[in-house]
C-alpha cells in the first residue's frame, strides 16, 4: 500500500516529555457489554478519492475497507488467506487462477462475478483514466499496451474469464507472491452500476461507492464532514459487531484528540505529536500501540565519490546511536531498526544490518578515517514533516563520534527534496521512509534497491542483488522466495546503501464507548473486530 509511502508522516511523533505507556498490540480495554445496534465514530482525513484503483492514502482506503471485502487478508504471520476468494492457485507463478466464493452480492443486489474484477482492474490499469494505483497492475501481462497517451489496447490481455466465478491472471513474469498483493485496495471489484459505458466510470459513483463488503453507504460522501456506512445484512462473510460507522473528517489531529478525550469521537488513528507525551495519562489503557509497516532511513547518494566506499557508509551507521534517539526524541513511539525489511512481513529477521548497526563510536571513527570519509556531512530532510529534531540529534552524534562537521539542511517539502535528489544535486545524506504496498519482503527490496527500482534514488546497483530478487520472484514456493530475498537482504548489509534507523508504530487511542480496537498493518482500524459498549 502506497499509503503515505516514502516516508514519513505528516505527524512524525516527536514527543516532548516522558510518559508513554507501552501497551501490547490490540486492545481490550472496556468491560461493558457489546451493543450491536450502535454505530462507532472513527477519525479520518478528507479522502482524496473513493474509487478503489484511485485510492492510495489511508483515509480513503479506511472507508473502502468498510465498503469492500478483499480477495485475501493476512494472518498473524503476515501470510495471505482467502476472504472473498475461494482459492487462488498457480502451477508456475505466472498464470494464476482465482476462484471466487459464491454468494457475494454488491449493495445494489448485483451478484459478484469474475467480470466485476476484470472490468475494475482494466479500468485501473488504463493510463488515460489517470488512476493513482495503476502501477499495481504492472505485473499483469498486457499492462504496457494500456500505457501512453493513446494506448494500443483498452483491456489487459492477461485477464481471462473462465466462468462466472473464475478468472485467470497471466503475469508478464513469474511472481511467487502475487497472492500477497491481492489484499490491497486496488484489487477490489466494481459493480456494473459503476460504469456508464464499458471502461467509463459513472458520474457520481465516487460520491456513494457500491461495494460487496460488510458495510454499505448511508447517504453520500459529505466532503470535509463525514462518510457514513451501515451494516450490509446480506454480507456472507464475517458480520461486523456494530450497526454502522461514521468516518468523521478532521483536518487537524489535535481536534480529533480533544474529541476522543471527551467521548465525542471513538477512535483516533494517530495521536498527534504534541499529545504523545500526555496520552498515557489522558487515556490510560485506551492509549494503544501496534506495529506499523513503515521504515525510516537515511540514504546515501552512492553515485557521489565521497560516499561510494561502503566503509564510509558503515562508519556513519556505527556512529549513530539509534536507541538513544528513539528513546529521547521519539519517546519510544517508534522502534529502533537494524534490518532493511519491517517486522510486518514474513521473512523479517532482527539485526540483519550486523556490525554496522551496533553503536560503536571508537570503531566508527577509526574506520571512517581509514576509509577517508568527507570532513563535512550534510543531512537533507523535508522541513514540513517534523524531522528537524532527530536530524539535529543525528548530526550532533556524527560530530561527536566521527569528528566531522555536520549540518542539517531543510527543503520545504519532500517534493523539493526529491527534485534535487533526482537531479543528482549534492544534498548529502537524505532522509526517506517507506510504507509497504503489500506484505512481502520483495516490496521492501525491489522498489528501493534494485537497479531499476522506482524509488531507488541513491544510484545503488548490484547485479547479484537484482539476480536474487528475480530468483525470488520466480521461486516455486513462498518459503523458497523468502530465502532468496533474505540472501538479497544480506547483500544490502554488506553494501549499506542506506542506514535503517527506525520502524514506525501505530499510536492510537479510543473513547470509553468502544472496545476491541485494533489497527492492521495498513494503518486501518479493523472494522469487524471493533465493538460499541452499551
Amino acid at each position: 500500500m502506497r499509503v503515505r509511502r516514502l516516508a514519513a508522516w505528516t505527524a512524525l511523533p516527536l514527543a516532548v516529555t516522558l510518559g508513554l505507556v507501552a501497551c501490547g498490540s490490540g486492545g481490550d480495554g472496556g468491560s461493558g457489554e457489546s451493543d450491536p445496534n450502535a454505530a462507532v465514530r472513527i477519525e479520518i482525513a478528507e479522502p482524496q478519492h473513493l474509487v478503489p484503483t484511485n485510492t492510495n492514502e489511508t483515509s480513503g482506503s479506511q472507508v473502502l475497507a468498510a465498503l469492500f471485502s478483499p480477495l485475501v487478508d493476512y494472518d498473524e504471520a503476515h501470510k495471505p488467506y482467502e476472504v472473498a476468494a475461494e482459492s487462488i492457485t498457480s502451477e508456475d507463478n505466472t498464470t494464476w487462477t482465482i476462484k471466487l466464493k459464491d454468494g457475494y452480492t454488491f449493495h445494489n443486489g448485483e451478484q459478484v462475478t469474475a467480470d466485476n474484477y476484470i472490468d475494475a482492474w482494466n479500468y485501473g490499469a488504463y493510463a488515460p483514466n489517470g488512476q493513482n494505483s495503476s502501477y499495481f497492475f504492472e505485473k499483469i501481462a498486457g499492462y504496457d499496451d494500456l500505457q501512453g497517451e493513446s494506448p494500443k489496447a483498452e483491456t489487459l490481455g492477461g485477464l481471462k474469464e473462465v466462468d462466472d466465478l473464475t478468472f485467470t491472471v497471466t503475469l508478464s513474469q513469474p511472481y511467487s507472491e502475487f497472492k500477497s498483493m491481492l489484499g490491497y485496495t486496488a484489487f477490489y471489484p466494481l459493480p456494473e452500476a459503476a460504469f456508464s459505458a464499458p471502461g467509463e466510470l459513472a458520474e457520481g459513483f465516487e460520491q456513494a461507492p457500491i461495494g460487496q463488503g460488510p458495510f454499505k453507504m448511508k447517504g453520500t460522501w459529505q466532503h470535509d464532514a463525514k462518510v457514513e456506512v451501515e451494516r450490509y445484512d446480506a454480507f456472507p462473510g464475517e458480520q461486523p459487531k456494530v450497526a454502522g460507522v461514521e468516518f468523521r473528517i478532521y483536518q487537524q489531529l489535535t481536534a480529533a484528540y480533544a474529541d476522543v478525550l471527551s467521548d465525542n469521537l471513538d477512535v483516533i488513528k494517530t495521536i498527534p505529536t504534541e499529545n504523545l507525551s500526555t496520552a498515557g495519562t489522558d487515556l490510560g489503557d485506551r492509549f494503544l500501540q501496534s506495529p506499523a509497516s513503515s521504515l525510516h532511513f537515511l540514504a546515501f547518494p552512492t553515485f557521489q565519490e565521497e560516499f561510494s566506499n561502503p566503509d564510509v557508509r558503515k562508519a556513519i551507521s556505527m556512529a549513530i546511536d539509534r536507541d538513544e534517539i528513539t528513546r529521547s526524541i521519539f519517546k519510544d513511539s517508534q522502534q529502533p531498526a537494524r534490518a532493511f525489511v519491517s517486522p510486518a512481513v514474513a521473512g523479517y529477521r532482527e539485526n540483519t544490518v550486523g556490525a554496522a548497526g551496533e553503536f560503536d563510536p571508537a570503531k566508527a571513527k577509526s574506520l571512517y578515517q581509514a576509509a577517508g570519509g568527507p570532513s563535512k556531512i550534510t543531512l537533507s530532510y523535508n522541513g514540513d514533516g517534523g524531522h528537524k529534531d532527530w536530524i539535529d540529534a543525528t548530526c550532533n552524534q556524527l560530530k561527536a563520534n566521527l569528528g566531522v562537521d555536520c549540518v542539517g539542511s531543510a527543503e520545504p517539502k519532500f517534493a523539493d527534496l526529491l527534485t534535487k535528489v533526482k537531479a543528482k544535486q549534492p544534498v548529502g545524506l537524505f532522509r526517506m521512509g517507506w510504507i509497504m504496498d503489500y506484505p512481502s519482503m520483495e516490496n521492501y527490496l525491489g522498489p528501493l534497491y534494485s537497479t531499476n527500482g522506482s524509488s531507488n534514488y541513491y544510484g545503488y546497483s548490484n547485479p547479484d542483488f537484482d539476480r536474487l530478487l528475480a530468483e525470488g520472484a520466480s521461486a516455486p514456493s513462498e518459503e523458497e522466495a523468502i530465502k532468496k530475498y533474505q540472501e538479497a537482504e544480506d547483500l544490502l548489509a554488506e553494501d549499506l546503501p542506506v542506514v535503517p534507523l527506525r520502524f514506525g508504530q501505530n499510536n492510537f487511542g479510543h473513547s470509553t464507548k468502544v472496545k476491541n480496537v485494533e489497527m492492521d498493518l495498513f494503518d486501518r482500524v479493523n472494522l469487524t473486530k471493533i465493538e460499541a459498549i452499551r
Binding site: 509511502r5 493513482n132 464532514a225 487537524q252 480533544a258 474529541d259
Partner: protein, 312 residues
C-alpha cells in the same frame, strides 16, 4: 450617494482583477511541483502525472504560460466557473459548502464583539479611571497579547475537554451552541479592540461642547449618552468592524482548524498546504469581493451615522 456607489462599484471591478492577478502570480511563482505535493511522499506514476498535467495545463510555464493560464482562469471565472481543485472537486461546490458555516461563525464573532465590546467600552468610557475601567484595560491587554493559536486550544481544552461546558469541536453541521465557543474565541480579539476604541472615543466625546450643551439643556444623562455620545463615538468602531468582517471570514484558519469547522479558512489552509493553486485563487477571489463589499457598506454607514458626511 447613488453616483458614489456606482463609482465605488466600478473601482471594485478594477481592484478585483488586480488582486486576482497578483494572487494568481504569487501562486504560480511559488508553485514547486503541485502533483508531487498532492501525493505527499509517495512516488507519482507517469500516467497520473500526464493526466494531471494535461488537465490543469501544468506544462504551461514561464511568462507566456502564466498569462495563458491566467486568462483561461479568468474567462472561466466570468462564466461563473471557479474550476476544479487538484483532487477533482468543483471549487464552486467546495465554497458553497464552506461559506454558510464560516458566515455563521463570523456573525457570532461580530455579535460577541459588538454586544460585549461596545457595551463595556461605553461603560469604561463613562466611568473613566474607575475599577471597571482598569479591569477591562487589563483584560483586553491580556487578550490582545495572546495569539489565537494559543487561545483557541486553551479554550478548547478547558471549556471543552476538562470542564465539558461546550462541545470540544463543532464539526460540519454545527448548531448555534457548538459554534458559540469558536465564535467567542474568534471574536475575542475584535472584542478587545472594539472595547478600547469605544472607550477612548466615548471618553473624548463626553468632554465635547455639544455634550455640555445637551446637559445644560437639562437632557437626562441616559439620552445624552445613548444618542449624542454613542452615535458620534461609533464611527471609528464601525470602520474597524467593517474591515474585521473580511478578516473574520478569511482569518478563521486557526479557529476553524482547532474546532474542526470545515469553513473557508479550513479549505484555504488545505489549499495552501497541498499547493492547490486553483483552490487558493478561487477562495481568495471570493474573499476579495467580501472585503470590497464590506468596505463599501462601512462607507455608506458613515453617512447614516453622521449626516455631515456627504458623498458626491
Amino acid at each position: 450617494m447613488f453616483r458614489f456607489i456606482v463609482r465605488r462599484l466600478l473601482q471594485m471591478v478594477l481592484a478585483f482583477f488586480g488582486t486576482t492577478l497578483i494572487v494568481y502570480a504569487l501562486m504560480f511563482a511559488g508553485q514547486g511541483d503541485p502533483i508531487q505535493a498532492l501525493a505527499g511522499e509517495r512516488p507519482v506514476t507517469a500516467a497520473q502525472r500526464a493526466y494531471l498535467t494535461e488537465k490543469y495545463h501544468l506544462d504551461a510555464t514561464g511568462v507566456g504560460g502564466f498569462f495563458y493560464r491566467y486568462f483561461d482562469y479568468i474567462s472561466n471565472l466570468l462564466r461563473g466557473d471557479l474550476g476544479e481543485s487538484l483532487t477533482g472537486r468543483s471549487i464552486g461546490d467546495i465554497l458553497a459548502a464552506a461559506w454558510p458555516v464560516t458566515i455563521r461563525l463570523a456573525l457570532i464573532a461580530i455579535a460577541v464583539a459588538v454586544i460585549f465590546g461596545v457595551t463595556a467600552g461605553v461603560l469604561a468610557g463613562i466611568r473613566r479611571a474607575s475599577v471597571f475601567d482598569n479591569a477591562t484595560l487589563l483584560l483586553t491587554l491580556l487578550v490582545l497579547g495572546i495569539p489565537t493559536i494559543v487561545l483557541a486550544p486553551l479554550a478548547q481544552y478547558f471549556l471543552g475537554v476538562k470542564w465539558q461546558i461546550f462541545p470540544p469541536t463543532a464539526g460540519a453541521d454545527p448548531d448555534f451552541f457548538a459554534l458559540l465557543l469558536p465564535g467567542i474565541v474568534l471574536g475575542s480579539l475584535s472584542l478587545a479592540t472594539a472595547l478600547r476604541l469605544t472607550r477612548t472615543s466615548v471618553a473624548e466625546n463626553l468632554r465635547a461642547d455639544y455634550v455640555r450643551t445637551a446637559r445644560s439643556k437639562g437632557l437626562p444623562n441616559r439620552r445624552v449618552v445613548s444618542v449624542h455620545v454613542l452615535r458620534n463615538s461609533l464611527i471609528p468602531v464601525i470602520t474597524f468592524l467593517g474591515v474585521e468582517v473580511g478578516n473574520l471570514m478569511s482569518g478563521a484558519i486557526i479557529t476553524e482548524g482547532v474546532f474542526n469547522i470545515p469553513g473557508v479558512g479550513f479549505n484555504l489552509f488545505r489549499g495552501i498546504r497541498t499547493e492547490d493553486g486553483p483552490l487558493v485563487v478561487g477562495i481568495v477571489s471570493v474573499l476579495v469581493v467580501v472585503y470590497l463589499v464590506s468596505n463599501l457598506v462601512v462607507d455608506v454607514l458613515y453617512a447614516v451615522l453622521d449626516p455631515r458626511i456627504r458623498y458626491e
